[in-house]
């Protein structure tokens, strides 16, 4: 049941091109073929000059992430048949990176951000003892398991809306890595990792626009948004949140709503014949918000 499908692939040769260009290739498509299989076929049979990274082809090394029809993911486990839009398949390099050649991007910025968070277990000198350091509950371990599956494919970085407008953002992958170590009972760096992350990146973590793309693009289903929020919570509890967000939270505490139903708003509502609303909802939320401490 072989059929043909068109791959529209972004090309860029730094020596000859000023701008990326697109080239279309016909690919023999058999059921079960992945997008990587398609690229390999192009390289072997049609155009050996096409460059892309690939290695394990089993979804674990993280090399081969590209944008398929605008969304980033490793292409070795993307079925061609699931990704044909309008009769063709668009393959572009990861976004938010500089292109080296064709689908190969410069990931230095990505690795740099990972390194910023001290991505290792700071448990002192490792020794040859006859004992595991770790004494954990399944609860602790489940936090590690939730995040340690990251394969550094950089899909989240590529799909990040905030990074597109501000490359200073520390990015989801580094935050996820920090989370993994912050929840490791063996780690001794603890809050220092957070503080340094903050110091090194300015408003780094706060630049998340909460668009939710990283969570969707993660091939390992890591709850990236949850990790990012957990860091925000920590800093917030130390009174290190940006003023704007503090005000927003205070408004919620004061009024049970973020924007005041002021005179103007109330008049406008009346004029438009909209139902009256309770201006102050704070008493409803007070019992929830007054509780001390950040719950997990």
């Amino acid at each position: 049941m072989a059929s043909e499908v068109t791959f529209r692939v972004q090309r860029f040769d730094p020596k000859t091109d000023r701008e990326p260009r697109f080239k279309e290739y016909r690919v023999r498509n058999e059921p079960g073929m992945t997008v990587l299989d398609g690229l390999l076929q192009i390289k072997a049979e049609t155009d050996p000059t096409l460059s892309f990274r690939r290695s394990c082809r089993s979804g674990i090394c993280g090399s081969c992430a590209v944008r398929i029809n605008g969304s980033s993911r490793p292409c070795c486990n993307a079925q061609i048949n699931d990704n044909i839009v309008g009769g063709r398949l668009l393959v572009e390099p990861l976004a938010n990176f500089d292109i080296i050649k064709d689908l190969v991007v410069n990931l230095d910025a990505f690795w740099g951000k990972i390194r910023q968070v001290h991505p290792w277990n700071e448990s002192g000198e490792f020794r040859h003892t006859g004992k595991a350091l770790m004494e954990v509950t399944a609860d602790d371990l489940s936090e590690i398991r939730k995040t340690e599956g990251c394969i550094f494919c950089a899909s989240c970085h590529s799909d990040c809306e905030a990074l597109r407008s501000n490359r200073d953002f520390v990015g989801p992958a580094a935050i996820v890595r920090a989370y993994r170590f912050m929840h490791d009972p063996r780690d001794r760096l603890g809050n220092k990792r957070l503080d340094e992350l903050k110091a090194r990146t300015g408003i780094g973590v706060w630049l998340c626009a909460i668009c939710g793309n990283c969570g969707e693009s993660c091939p390992k289903l890591i709850p990236t948004n949850e990790c990012i929020a957990s860091f925000k919570n920590s800093w917030f509890s130390e009174n290190k949140a940006p003023d704007g967000l503090k005000t927003t939270a205070e408004n919620l505490e004061k009024m049970g709503r973020v924007y005041e139903l002021d005179e103007f708003a109330l008049r406008m509502r009346e004029k438009l014949g909209l139902p009256p609303l309770t201006p102050n909802n704070a008493p409803k939320l007070e019992p929830i918000l007054k509780k001390k401490g950040v719950a997990k």
Binding site: G59, C61, K101, F126, T129, V136, A138, R145
Partner: protein
């Protein structure tokens, strides 16, 4: 063109390379890693099942030794196996101290029942093929990934210099002493000389010699070929492990852990046929035994739906166990074969998986060439003999990676920086330039594919002299045809066409050695199974093969096996 100088240059950044780098650096040496991939992309990442060690008081060192010796079909050097097994436990704890979060006893149940209280304090172990005790430590079903990441993180912590995406094109040797390597920075297309007092090869195996393999596309035997070209021998190259459970059709790995957790292998007639091959161990017999059983079923027409595969059935394990213990396998089946193992069996067939052979070294990773060390899959110590046990390769990388790193650091102390041949960089630049300008009629992908197909078909799981000789002739013919290849030229920046052409040189070099060694060994042992010589022959063949390049020829030599405690017996499961 720059000249970099370090005490120790390590080629390859998988588990062995990074472990060696960390150790050498800890010992005070100036270490750099030169790797064609970013470290976390290295193929160690794909190891799924686990890492063996005796850490349960009910287990014994002797049992692990014996299982390994027996698994090796008595070809493993027992003095080295003793080192591997003795140092295994401390290396597990070391990995744990480094940050690896091993699966713990009770974790699975706790997570399944969402019961989170209570401390867990013991590393869990699962049963693995060919072993009499559940001694394989694991991290869910992505042990290699977790360990590789842990190692990379410790490499960062240690501050080791990494030249990533640098393809090493040759070893630099003068007067029988290694003085460094030449490597191509793929990003800029520039060629650089790395001078060093010691070079440590940790380049992994050569799975890509075969058309069906579990190995990554980068596993092309570069290190072995590089050393071989400089006159370093290769040991036991006829021993190629075929993993029984490669996913059909791609050959990517379905972990032995699946069988460890209780999966069945079933043929087209619905039979759990392992009862006919290894009634005692069934699916958990050693890899070579299971791989041959599956291949026999397929060749005798008992594949599923008449196709070249059998079924790996996990359904009876139940959703909870699969989802908790083997989530990656499920993901793999869905994404790569469109099969959900909760409801359907996975189609599998044997796949080329591991190289027992490699650059011969002593127990500290030193090769026969002064200044050259090797560790991991590209080395042959030999602890795996004719067949490696599952869970012993990750172990080998850390035990001998550490030892080699330590030995290399000791070696460079008091050693002067060796001379390098004059103009080596220019010569290499010319060679690469000529390759880039090659405009012959032959295609790199075609030569590669022809090589892989003939090697899988004729020097694969079952071997016979006639077909193997055809394969050898073919490999030699392809080597000639390679001289007339065609490249597109253009810029050297991330020119993966050029890299693939260089890798093909390695594949051709290694394939010829494999075929020749396999033809010469007229017995069956471990993974090397001769239809024309189906019995093991200790009288004549209880010895290691050594292949060495002499000009255009390859000469074979043999050396004895070290036997300390376990005299050879028949290998039965």
């Amino acid at each position: 063109m720059t000249v970099f100088t370090h005490d120790v240059v390590i080629v390859g950044a998988g588990l062995a390379g990074m472990r060696a780098a960390i150790e050498a650096s800890r010992q005070g040496a100036d270490v750099a890693i030169v790797s064609k991939l970013h470290p976390v992309r290295s193929h160690s990442v794909a190891a799924q099942g686990g890492i063996n060690a005796v850490i349960n008081p009910e287990d014994t060192i002797k049992d692990h030794e014996f299982d390994t010796v027996k698994g090796s079909d008595y070809l493993g050097d027992q003095d080295r196996i003793e080192v591997l097994i003795a140092e295994a436990p401390m290396n597990i704890y070391e990995l744990e101290h480094m940050g690896a979060a091993f699966s713990m006893v009770g974790e699975g149940e706790a997570l399944a029942q969402r019961h989170f209280e209570g401390r867990l304090g013991t590393i869990d172990q699962r049963p693995f093929g060919g072993q009499n005790f559940p001694r394989t430590c694991f991290i869910q079903d992505r042990t290699g990934q977790a360990l590789l990441h842990t190692m990379y993180e410790n490499l960062l912590r240690q501050g080791v210099m990494v030249y990533e995406e640098y393809y090493t094109t040759r070893l630099v040797v003068k007067d029988g002493v290694v003085g460094g390597v030449v490597a191509l920075d793929q990003r800029t297309g520039e060629l650089h000389l790395f001078r060093a007092k010691a070079v440590l090869l940790a380049t992994g195996g050569y799975g890509r010699v075969f058309s069906v393999t579990s190995n990554a596309m980068d596993v092309t035997g570069d290190g072995m070929a590089m050393a071989f070209r400089e006159g370093v021998p290769l040991e036991d190259m006829e021993f190629v492990q075929f993993h029984p459970t490669g996913l059909y059709p791609t050959g990517i790995l379905v972990t032995e852990g699946a069988r460890g957790e209780g999966a069945y292998i079933v043929n087209g007639k619905g039979e759990r046929f392992m009862s006919r091959y290894a009634a005692g161990k069934m699916e958990l017999a050693p890899r070579d035994v299971v791989a041959r059983a599956i291949q026999t079923e397929i060749e005798e027409g008992r594949g599923v739906k008449g196709r070249p595969y059998v079924d790996l059935d996990l359904r009876h394990l139940g959703c909870a166990k699969i989802q908790e213990r083997l989530p990656q396998i499920r993901e793999l089946g869905i994404n790569f074969a469109a099969v959900d193992c909760l409801t359907q069996p996975l189609p599998i067939r044997p796949t080329a998986h591991y190289s027992m052979g490699g650059v011969p070294t002593d127990v500290n990773g030193a090769s026969t060439l002064k200044g050259l060390f090797a560790a991991g899959e590209c080395s042959c110590i030999s602890v795996h003999g004719a067949n490696r046990l599952g869970g012993n390769s990750l172990l080998e990388t850390v035990v001998f990676g550490r030892r080699a790193g330590m030995a290399a650091a000791a070696f460079v102390k008091g050693t002067a920086l060796p001379e390098v041949p004059a103009g080596v960089l220019e010569t290499e630049k010319k060679r690469i330039g000529a390759l880039l300008d090659a405009r012959g009629p032959e295609s790199v992908p075609r030569i590669r594919e022809e090589l892989q197909t003939v090697m899988f078909d004729k020097v694969g799981i079952y071997r016979t002299e006639g077909p193997m000789k055809e394969a050898l002739a073919k490999a030699r013919e392809l080597k000639k045809r390679y001289k007339d290849i065609h490249l597109s030229g253009g810029s050297l920046v991330f020119n993966t066409e050029l890299i693939e052409a260089l890798e093909l040189q390695s594949l051709l070099e290694v394939a010829e050695v494999i075929a020749l060694c396999a033809i010469n060994r007229t017995e069956s042992r471990g993974s090397h199974f001769r239809r024309d010589f189906p019995k093991r022959d200790d009288q004549n063949w209880l010895k290691h093969t050594l292949a060495r390049r002499k000009g255009d020829d390859i000469v074979l030599d043999y050396k004895p096996v070290a036997i300390t405690k376990y005299p050879p017996q028949e290998r039965k499961y």
